[in-house]
Symmetry: C2
Subunit: 424 residues, 2 copies
Amino acid sequence: MDYRHLFSSDVPSFMRSPVREIFRKVDLSAICSFAGGYPAAVTFPVEDLRRLPGLVLDKYGTKALQYGATQGVPELREAIAARYGVPVSRVQITTSSQQGIDVCTRILCDPGDIILTTEPTYLGALQSFKAYRADVRPIKSIVMDREGIVPETVVSDDPSQSRLTPSSGPSLLCGRGWPQVSGTTPSRSDSKPVKFIYVIPDFNNPSGETMTLEERMEIVKLARELDVVIVEDSPYRELRYSGEEVPTIYSLAPERTLHLGSFSKIFAPGFRLGWIIGPEELLEQIYICKQALDLCPPVFDQYMATEFLTSGALDANLVKTKAEYRRRRDLMVSLLEKYMPAGVKWTYPEGGLFLFLTLPEGIDTIEMYDEALSRGVAYVAGSFFFLDGSHRNTMRLNFSFIAEEKMEPGLKLLGEIVRGVICK
Amino acid sequence: MDYRHLFSSDVPSFMRSPVREIFRKVDLSAICSFAGGYPAAVTFPVEDLRRLPGLVLDKYGTKALQYGATQGVPELREAIAARYGVPVSRVQITTSSQQGIDVCTRILCDPGDIILTTEPTYLGALQSFKAYRADVRPIKSIVMDREGIVPETVVSDDPSQSRLTPSSGPSLLCGRGWPQVSGTTPSRSDSKPVKFIYVIPDFNNPSGETMTLEERMEIVKLARELDVVIVEDSPYRELRYSGEEVPTIYSLAPERTLHLGSFSKIFAPGFRLGWIIGPEELLEQIYICKQALDLCPPVFDQYMATEFLTSGALDANLVKTKAEYRRRRDLMVSLLEKYMPAGVKWTYPEGGLFLFLTLPEGIDTIEMYDEALSRGVAYVAGSFFFLDGSHRNTMRLNFSFIAEEKMEPGLKLLGEIVRGVICK
């Protein structure tokens, strides 16, 4: 039977994750894989999890097994509200932070509506945005850091394509040329409004970078000028290994920011729990929408997360998790310094799970990928994280998931492969 | 701040569940509530759940806490495939059966596209359909059973509004006048195609009724004539207390049926797990869509469900669950016979959680609701389950959730209230 006449107009815009497709084809456990973005299994609080289910059943009884409130169970909402200093009425629990991205897009975007994003950006967000046929456009960002990528000059190919509603003028240019909206996407819907700005300000996936306070204020300024919402996707915020904490964008513009948090990196991703902190008027629409999406987040898991958080076990585990990842980050950086040829640069992440590599101009990490894979090392090509597929000389390396003993042979091999390509 | 200019065009169509709104306003535990559709807490396998988490950690290790496959973990897909005799490739695990409804609508419906449904129908499905701005139209069904509602004659107010793509002619009329499409909804989009037929063939929510094999074959015939998909929503199928099992619609038309199952009534709703069985070509689009929705269903919960199912604990618990609900159904029917005045009719459900009451013509169960609530008894007005808000003399009664000792005082009270309204 042919189903094509039955599919909705969204279907042709559904986008497979290149990362998940890599996982489908190759047994990454057999090689040195810096692809993927999984947390280290060693950070999972296994011992707590032997205790928590019984504790939840004792304390909450069958309530923990029943349907729950669409907004999330009150106990978890209160725990999140207390941890982040916001009113409970501003907290919605989500069935994963990915659902948070999806539902924000759902309530805000019609096909052709414009979403602005910094680049490189999270692939899972692009999947959601494209699945709603939004017109996603880049805000070019300076990529910084001591070993960082050279700051880019923002050039719009055709200035007439950069027009946004209501306006984006010279006032948006800051000294470092950022943020400025560049019209690199086709202008099929220039009359459509901008609906929100999407940013991953803390330890960006894939770049590992963190936005400065000044840059966050620029994002807020842009959002206020355009009169749009900011979706602040911050699943790694609790994972800082060095440097100073920067205020959330939510704290700078609570009236227009939807801040997305996640338990995946501070508890375990197998529980699919996240949260949205934002204005009640926006959460109200998300609440009604979520009734139709899945009625409520997983209830038993929410009570386990509540107990994990309120008992102090989360913070205790976080100390160990951060020590583990700090060591891995430092190891990766020292190994890159040891094995990468001259001309290769990388970001220095103050937290999170990723580091971003820039090879000399002209090298194509997609072309290089088959050789790397056949020789036993995997990464994700950086161009996947750019809307126009540019930056083909970049790659994302994950330092959280790979077995620690594979890090040196893997990076040594990668260094050799890069050196070979440079010498060609 | 005013957000109205930012909302998507779907937002005005979001529909609050009247049932969930009742829950919000009243503490139903303080009264005799036949509203809601929760399973009885006594059916939850609490003792198994003290054992399962540790067992899952021992057997699957940290894999149970990590991200999992978007299709669901292979072990659970295999267990579902084996239980229902279908290939694993035809099984997608969902984050609740509600997500199954939502994602089927997402991949099939554009705004204005037509969904046909039998009536009365599931409110959560209507929420999903309306949230995508589908044009939901009724297939009038005969409501049967020994104490049942009188069969309805199907009349379309304006036959020109009944035109469907490709056609709905006299061949669709069967002896009992069913199924026939009635154009009761505004015809703003008559040029739009029908995309699927939605049915709850087993122990319908809200009516409690089960479609005969003949009626299922009529649905298949209609779907084949229209060349559309059937969404067979069957969360109660495993809960049969009497009568003979009827083949699934999926078994009659596996090439065009998406069969939705749920763990909520056979394990615990707090786990938010369901499944879709259907053609690979449709599941492939659901798979890609689900990456953007929430990446994967809850992994730890999936492994608990796997062990619960494959160990035989599910079947053992199901025997107890069915005995419990059979007793409750029989009790409710005997109490209705005892307390309801002449002229009140009800369905006799062979399974599921609900029974549907029809009061004499002219009585309005929405108008009656405030009095009922103030006197200490709650139900859901039946007209909520009809697209045009008709059948205002009906109500849904749930027999699974109410404390058993409240059933007699509750139905006695309801009988008095109904008697009072009849005598007015």
